[in-house]
């Protein structure tokens, strides 16, 4: 009996001693396996992401309110300081905008008349969902924010997220009550846009810097600093003409765009639900998430996929 116990402990002791190392190697292997799985099977990983996101979002929602309040207080204190100058500036801006309003009304009426004349198909209806930004979890490599609205509010993948100033990004993952917005500065973000008054088509590609670059611009296109960049609507999920930013620099082949969005004061977002009638709706249901994400990003602009581009972050 004691002999048996002795042999058991002879076997068990080294295993016990080695156990931490075995566990370490096992867990590291699992992590590596997950990393590879994340590259091939995005759907499974995405479910896990969405579950974590949904679990954490309510806590973030609670925690973010005091943070926002403090931020607001600081901002309003700063505003108090230069109230007069601001007032002056707004007066002159208001004057200018009144002229523009008149021009817009005139153009709107003209547009309407021309549309009727040419029997143009009506633009799809647009619906907004407003949501609070509750998380900014990206760290050094990912530019994304979490919002406190999800499937329940009718948010789906690929929709555009905007602020009053312009485009913020697109919805990359949707949970029950939360969603992740991939910002247009993220290096996985690709957004079909048009540039300038001549409406050159291009793709706005993020590179994790504050100023994304214009890609796949035609060789004949002439782009100057100050040109406006807006969404082109190619790909079908983004509405046409959402303002994105201004071309900030043109230098040896790279064209940088400064987005209109004020990243520092992004407490609320609007998610645009753009109801394209007919064909794309039914496509939505049959396409997998991955293909849908691609169609919202790049598929329509016939670009060669870059390494890891089709991958969700």
């Amino acid at each position: 009996m004691s002999k048996l116990a002795g042999s058991v402990s002879r076997v068990a002791t080294p295993i016990k001693a080695w156990w931490p190392r075995i566990a370490f190697i096992f867990l590291i292997s699992v992590a590596f396996a997950l990393m590879l799985l994340g590259r091939s099977d995005a759907l499974l990983i995405e479910r896990a992401r969405v579950a974590v996101m949904d679990g954490v979002a309510p806590f973030l929602d609670l925690l973010v309110r005091p943070v926002d309040t403090v931020g607001d207080a600081i901002a309003s204190a700063q505003e108090m300081a230069d109230l007069r100058a601001e007032n002056q500036r707004l007066r002159s801006q208001n004057e200018r905008l009144l002229h523009w309003e008149a021009a817009a009304h005139r153009l709107d009426a003209e547009n309407e008349a021309l549309r009727r004349l040419t029997k143009m198909a009506p633009d799809p209806r647009m619906r907004y969902v407003s949501a609070r930004v509750v998380g900014d979890p990206g760290g050094a490599f990912v530019r994304s924010v979490l919002i406190n609205a999800g499937d329940r509010e009718g948010i789906t993948r690929g929709q555009a997220a905007v602020t009053g100033e312009g485009l913020v990004g697109r919805i990359a993952e949707v949970g029950q009550r939360s969603a992740r917005v991939l910002l247009l500065t993220d290096m996985n973000s690709r957004i079909p846009v048009v540039v300038g008054g001549r409406r050159y088509r291009a793709v706005l590609g993020g590179d994790n810097t504050a100023q994304p670059a214009l890609l796949y611009l035609g060789p004949t296109a002439e782009v100057l600093p100050g040109d406006r960049v807006a969404t082109s609507g190619h790909g079908g999920v983004f509405p046409v003409g959402v303002p994105v930013g201004l071309v900030s620099q043109v230098a040896d082949g790279t064209i940088k765009v400064r987005p209109f969005v004020d990243w520092d004061h992004m407490e609320f977002l609007r998610v645009l639900d753009y109801e394209l009638p007919g064909i794309l709706r039914s496509l939505d249901k049959t396409l997998t998430g991955q293909a849908l994400a691609q169609s919202s990003g790049t598929a329509d602009v016939s670009t060669p996929p870059r390494g890891g581009e089709s991958q969700e972050p």
Binding site: P20, A23, F24, L27, I28, V30, A31, F32, A33, L34, M35, L37, G38, R39, I45, A48, R49, V52, M53, V56, F59, L60, L63, V64, V67, V70, G71, I74, V133, V134, G135, D136, P137, G138, G139, A140, F141, V142, R143, S144, V145, L146, A172, E173, R180, L182, M187, N208, A210, W263, D264, H265, M266, G307, G308, Q311, P313
Partner: protein, 169 residues
């Protein structure tokens, strides 16, 4: 001796404290800051917690918990999955392997060791991210993140010392 329900709950919560506080730091680092440009170089608070508990309370901070916390961090951040998990596990294993260096070391020495160990962890993360994204990722934000993490270490170590004392009673 039989423990009552509350006593047992008390024991469980005390045993879970290191894991819970680390998880809280993971969630807290997802909070949006008034200046988001800062959030790209925000100190990696969970790394501090992993190091701290690996040094001071390894028995309450098992490998699998470190693994799970790393996984939650990866899932939440939206980055490549497994990167933080591997970095956290490696950090803990390194601390365990070098345990004798930490015995009766002064705070300054532990801080120095943290800066060395976390530098290795950040380098590992950079490699893994570059590998999993199959492209060269700019290491500058990570360098700033590393410097800030080392800079705020004393502050959070102090907080965790207070927490540890309160929960060890």
């Amino acid at each position: 001796m039989k423990l009552t329900f509350w006593q047992r709950l008390d024991v469980v919560v005390r045993a879970l404290f290191p894991c819970l506080i680390t998880l809280m730091l993971v969630v807290a680092s997802a909070l949006p800051l008034p200046a988001p440009s800062l959030s790209h170089i925000m100190p990696m608070l969970p790394l501090i917690a992993v190091f701290y508990w690996a040094v001071y309370k390894p028995d309450l901070f098992p490998l699998w918990a470190v693994f799970l916390i790393g996984l939650v961090q990866d899932l939440l951040s939206g980055g490549p999955i497994g990167v933080s998990a591997i970095a956290f596990l490696s950090l803990q294993a390194a601390v365990n392997a070098q345990r004798r260096r930490f015995v009766s070391a002064s705070f300054a020495k532990i801080w120095l060791l943290f800066s060395i160990f976390s530098a290795a962890a950040f380098a590992l993360m950079w490699l893994l991210i570059s590998f999993s994204m199959m492209l060269f990722v700019d290491p500058m934000p990570l360098l700033f993140q590393f410097l800030l993490t080392v800079a705020v270490y004393p502050c959070f170590a102090w907080l965790m010392v207070r927490g540890q004392r309160a929960f060890e009673r």
